[in-house]
């Protein structure tokens, strides 16, 4: 999936400007990090791509389609093409790991056999195949994070968005998670990861977009 921001801004009713004049172009299959201090606008930028919020001005093109032309009825279908790992929308503890990962497939009416196959494949990719029947609460923080990633990729999205996916994890686990994203990138998925873990970003050698007070202050090299 291809993402293009043209002079995008987001102002809240309070007058606070979360993003201003943001422009960048992410090619199909590209992987990029989004860094910046907390409150710099990383989450807002991702919410605009997911159409959780709408920009105040400027143009966002996803595969050439202006998001402003999509009505409320198209939003669910837009979201199905994007896999997300968001901090505040985590797993549901009233069902098994399997059913958590199966959610994106169930909403689009996939066949039960197809669901089982794809969920196992996704859990296999994140190394949790043996734990499909567990309740997510019984898993460690790192494992829960990986279940979230499995849920994000189970529908084979064209774009993978992750907001602080290594937030509470130790460096070794963080590196593992990042390697996972890198694998999906190698398989052709466009990947965008918001993180403030600069050391990790530096090691990964991908494009880095740095936000400061809602503006892109650096776009390019790693580190």
């Amino acid at each position: 999936m291809e993402i293009e921001f043209q002079q995008v801004g987001k102002k809240y009713e309070s007058g606070q400007e979360a993003l201003s004049q943001v422009s960048f172009h992410l090619q199909q299959g590209e992987m990029a990090f989004l860094t910046g201090h907390s409150g710099a606008g990383k989450s807002t930028l991702m919410k605009l791509i997911m159409m959780i919020e709408r920009q105040s001005y400027g143009k966002i093109l996803i595969d050439g389609v202006d998001l402003r032309t999509l009505g409320a009825g198209s939003i669910p279908y837009h979201r199905r093409r994007v896999g997300v790992v968001f901090q505040n929308h985590q797993l549901l503890f009233d069902r098994s790991v399997f059913h958590n990962v199966a959610l994106p497939l169930m909403i689009s009416g996939a066949e039960p056999e197809q669901i089982a196959k794809r969920v196992r494949a996704a859990l296999d990719k994140v190394g949790l195949l043996g734990k499909e029947k567990f309740n997510p609460q019984a898993l460690s923080g790192g494992e829960q994070q990986r279940v979230g990633i499995a849920r994000a990729v189970v529908n084979r999205p064209q774009l993978l968005l992750a907001d602080e996916p290594t937030g509470n994890l130790d460096p070794k686990l963080s590196a593992e998670i990042m390697n996972l994203f890198q694998e999906f990138h190698r398989l052709g998925t466009t990947v965008m990861v918001a993180t403030h873990d600069l050391a990790l970003v530096a090691r990964m050698r991908h494009r880095v977009l740095t936000l400061n007070k809602g503006r892109i202050v650096n776009d390019g090299g790693f580190g």
Partner: protein, 334 residues
């Protein structure tokens, strides 16, 4: 639809890609059926997770429905009793006193040949006087009068007997007869039935009114329970929105929950009404036996039960719909 969409050459291609978006994963009929079936089962299973709350909601619905249901049984029985209560009808025609006997007799013959008239009894002024003397005890006063003040009366016996069904037809006949030039006044002897008919009409309206009010109560009960259910599943609603579930998909389990509440409430109400009818049937039958009437009490039959459950189910779904639609729209991702 966003008002911001630019008008121009690019619009065509955008519409196309939007359509492509929507068509990417269409639900087939089989998928729909399977999905609805599983949602139906899951929503029932969810009700059993909170048995106390479920039972209370169902009972409140049942109580709200059993009042109009019981009134309905009562009305049905009263109507049925009066339907069987047939008696010979009589329309009394009071002729103008200026009319000669021969003219009155001619009218009597003419009326008795009508298709809707069984026979006509002729009561002359003298016969009328005799009846009056026997029944009223005012002989002295009458004999003091210079002449007989009573008119000739034709007692028309229509073919139809009086019942609630035939009453409107008989009333038309009475009006027709009164319109005759020889007739001063026509009286249909069915006053008690006319009163009963208006009481029953009143009763029917009353029951419809009460039923409508209590149906609104069912909407509110179900709506409130569903609102709580949506609130307690807020996390799930959010995750579903995030992964691209449509509002219809998110709404569905709650609508089925409303359906279950309605069906179970209607079922409980039916059981209650059946038990109630059975409970009052004994004294009622004794009462009927005292009047030596040949009459069988009507209970709440299978048809009534099915209608009760159906109405309750529809009310449950509507209540859920009103509540859930608003709440899910209001819950926006943050």
């Amino acid at each position: 639809m966003s008002k911001l969409s630019p008008r121009g050459a690019t619009r065509q291609s955008m519409v196309q890609s939007k359509n492509k978006l929507k068509d990417s994963q269409p639900f087939s009929l089989a998928q729909h059926l399977r999905h609805h079936q599983s949602v139906l089962m899951e929503s029932f299973a969810r009700l059993t997770l909170y048995p106390l709350a479920t039972v209370m909601t169902v009972l409140v619905i049942a109580i709200a429905l059993s009042l109009p249901g019981a009134l309905f049984v009562l009305l049905k029985n009263v109507e049925s009793i009066t339907d069987r209560w047939e008696q010979q009808s009589v329309i009394g025609l009071y002729l103008f006193s200026s009319l000669e006997d021969t003219e009155a007799l001619a009218l009597s013959h003419q009326l008795s040949s009508r298709a809707d008239v069984e026979r006509v009894d002729y009561i002359s002024k003298e016969e009328g006087l005799r009846y009056f003397e026997q029944s009223s005890g005012y002989e002295d006063i009458l004999s003091a009068l210079p002449e007989n003040p009573l008119p000739i009366v034709l007692q028309v016996i229509p073919k139809a007997v009086v019942s609630l069904e035939t009453l409107p037809g008989l009333e038309t006949l009475r009006a027709d007869l009164e319109a005759l030039p020889q007739v001063e006044y026509a009286q249909l002897d069915a006053q008690w039935l006319q009163r009963l008919a208006s009481i029953l009409a009143f009763g029917q309206r009353f029951i419809y009114g009460v039923s409508a009010l209590l149906l609104v109560a069912v909407f509110l009960i179900v709506g409130n329970t569903i609102r709580t259910a949506v609130e307690s599943r807020r996390d799930e609603v959010m995750v579903l929105k995030l992964v691209g579930a449509t509002n219809a998909y998110i709404r569905r389990p709650f609508l089925y929950m409303g359906l279950w509440f309605g069906v179970l409430g209607g079922l409980c109400a039916s059981v209650g009404i059946v038990l109630f009818s059975w409970w009052i049937s004994q004294p009622a039958e004794r009462l009927i036996a005292l009047y030596q009437a040949d009459f069988e009490l009507l209970g709440f039959n299978l048809n009534n039960i099915l209608v009760c459950i159906f109405i309750s189910a529809i009310a449950g779904v509507i209540g859920a719909w009103i509540s859930v639609g608003k709440h899910i729209r209001d819950m926006e991702l943050q």
